[in-house]
Amino acid sequence: MHIVVCIKQVPDSAQIRVHPVTNTIMRQGVPAIVNPYDLFSLEEALRLKDKFGGRVTVLCMGPPQAEAALRKAISFGADDAILVTDRAFAGSDTLATSFALASAIKKIQEDMPVDIVFAGKQTIDGDTAQVGPGIAKRMDLQLLTYVSKIVDLDLDKREITLHRRAEGGVQVLRTKLPCLITMLEGTNEMRFATMPNMFRAARYPLKQWDKDAAGIEDVSKIGLKGSPTIVSKVFAPQAKTVRAEIIDCESKHPKDLSVTLLTKMFTKFPNLAEEIGKGAG
């Protein structure tokens, strides 16, 4: 069995700060990490490999420094890693990104057919959740998003049974391989890297593919040219014209502040008093 896992290197969004005066992103010193959602998919792929054998190839599109994300994946137990990197990809939106990744996976398939593609549910920087569905569509794979559990995999029948999160419940689905799966967060826990795998990751001869190596001929489908969406404006949100009324009183004591607040609030919003009575009653 051959599994391809698509991962992305993202800035740790918890550590992104906006410059208070210029409203620009302060990128310096923000560490790059493997998109956390991708790790649930990688772990699930590794579990399938543990159970059924085969190979796990990790695939990442990004700048040269994204190789760190791929080495991380190798240290967890992935077998092969390919970095698709080319200046021509700069400015790609989700449509162009899914085209580039699908092209690369088709190229990977020339060496070894792919049974399952995993992708992250979404990234923490773009948050779109569109690249997984995009790859599935371009490769004509069965799409299974928000998977909470893989129940069964029958390699002879080439069938997979799994749980998919729907809005008001869980769907139990059975489908045919090849398919593309995005895992729901919290469905498994990433294993620790073993010492031998960490050594292997450090020495692993990472494959770097440019657009030609990834089998991309039509450059109008990648980068800015291949991206229908255009960012017309980036801005900091406006403060409301009226700032919060800061509650103050002579004593500054929390108790008096609270009473002052409630008096003001219930005078201005009498319905709220009723609402609160209802909720508490």
Binding site: K8, S13, A14, I16, A90, D93, T94, L95, T97, I124, G126, D127, Q130, V131, P133, G134, A136, K137, R138, Q142, L143, T145, T161, A166, E167, G168, G169, V170, Q171, V172, L173, R174, S227, P228, T229, I230, V231, S232, V234, F235, P237, A239, K240, A244, E245, I246, I247, P254, K255, L257, S258, L261, L262, M265, F269, L272, A273, I276, K278, A280
Partner: protein, 363 residues
């Protein structure tokens, strides 16, 4: 939305002319999502928003209803009219009884190609995101996810979709100029629910799917509905008390629970608090959590980063408690108390308790 926003140059005010082949795309569509005989409220929230867009453009607003034949589908069309649609495209087929990507993608793509809307809106739910990504790829058009504001740029009649970016620290406006339809998803509760007008009617245009069950690879073996009783229902709560990193320690979060109990409120939290494991993921409010619109939102020890703000600024009244007088939360809260949440919260809890007791006596 761009996966690599930072590398893009803003489009600026350059002259734009729509490809003449795309000029025939007219009208605003809202995909009506439903499950187990109930329409998802996000569809009606979008219908309200779609109405405004359609009016600005001077075009009709349509609902798209896909599902199994039966009374439900017709009923959803009527509801769509009540919430603002002028017409509905209805596709009924037994194959569409449960959501599956393959038949829904084909059905919606075929409808778009046949009737050519300029804007297509879907809810950013597990269904809507799954479907929108596939449909946009099939149609080779732009899709902007999780928008917090939709508008029309009248200069070129294009959809200006605004969403948080960079992990929720800034906002960006995204346009899809020379591709149609312009697609966008919006998360539940981000837009307000429009008023229902039961006198409104509209026309239903029926279409067939053209697939049979054997064409579809994925089979639904079973559906297990959630037990809603054990899950917090933040999106529809009337009162929410939330805590952030300013609560300092997990045990201090008890003060949040205490106030919530007195008010009969739900408890919410910011992303760092959820990531630290102080409360369950179901309670996260913000761009990567739930969007809420309560009548009263009490934010304790929350700075008010955009990530959190977009999830709660639709609240009617916001009380913010923060020790930093310059915290951004005071820019959009209704009332602010500058002070230590650990001392203010117990006092506020007591004040509410007294207020409730007095109210009871008065009754």
């Amino acid at each position: 939305m761009s996966e690599a926003t930072e590398q893009k140059k803003p489009a600026g005010r350059r002259k734009f002319e729509l490809d003449p082949r795309l000029a025939s795309y007219k009208g605003v569509w809202v995909f009506v999502e439903h499950e187990r005989g109930v329409a998802h409220s996000v569809s009606w929230e979008l219908m309200g928003e779609g109405r405004k867009l359609a009016d600005k453009l001077g075009v009709p607003l349509a609902g798209v209803v896909m599902g199994a034949p039966g009374i439900h589908s017709r009923h959803f069309c009527q509801e769509a009219f009540h919430y603002g649609a002028d017409l509905c495209y209805l596709m009924e087929d037994p194959v569409l009884a449960d959501y599956r990507n393959q038949p829904f993608t084909k059905g919606l793509t075929d409808l778009v190609n046949a009737y050519q809307p300029e804007i297509l809106l879907l809810g950013a739910t597990t269904l809507g995101r799954d479907l929108a990504g596939s449909v946009a790829t099939t149609l080779q058009t732009g899709l902007t996810a999780d928008c917090t504001e939709l508008n029309i740029d009248m200069e070129n009649r294009s959809l200006a979709a605004t969403r948080p970016t960079f992990g929720g620290s800034l906002l960006c406006t995204i346009v899809t100029l020379n591709y149609r339809p312009q697609m966008a998803t919006v998360r539940p509760r981000v837009m307000s629910m429009p008023k229902k007008d039961e006198t409104r009617t509209g026309s239903i245009i029926e279409n067939s799917l053209g697939l049979i069950e054997t064409d579809i690879v994925t089979k639904v073996l079973q559906y297990m509905p959630d037990n809603l009783q054990d899950k917090p229902q933040l999106p529809f709560a009337d009162i929410i008390v939330s805590g952030g990193r300013g609560m300092k320690r997990p045990e201090n979060f008890q003060l949040i629970w205490d106030l919530a109990k007195v008010l009969g409120a739900e408890v919410g939290a910011t992303r760092p608090v959820v990531q630290a494991g102080w409360v369950d993921l179901d309670r996260q409010v913000g761009q990567s959590g739930k969007t809420v619109r309560p009548k009263l939102y009490i934010a304790a020890g929350i700075s008010g980063a955009i990530q959190h703000r977009v999830g709660m600024e639709g609240s009617d009244v916001i009380i913010a408690i923060n020790s930093d007088p310059n915290a951004p939360i005071f820019d959009f809260a209704t009332y602010g108390i500058v002070g230590n949440a650990m001392t203010v919260l117990p006092a506020l809890t007591e004040a509410f308790r007294q207020q409730l007791a007095t109210a009871k006596v008065a009754v």
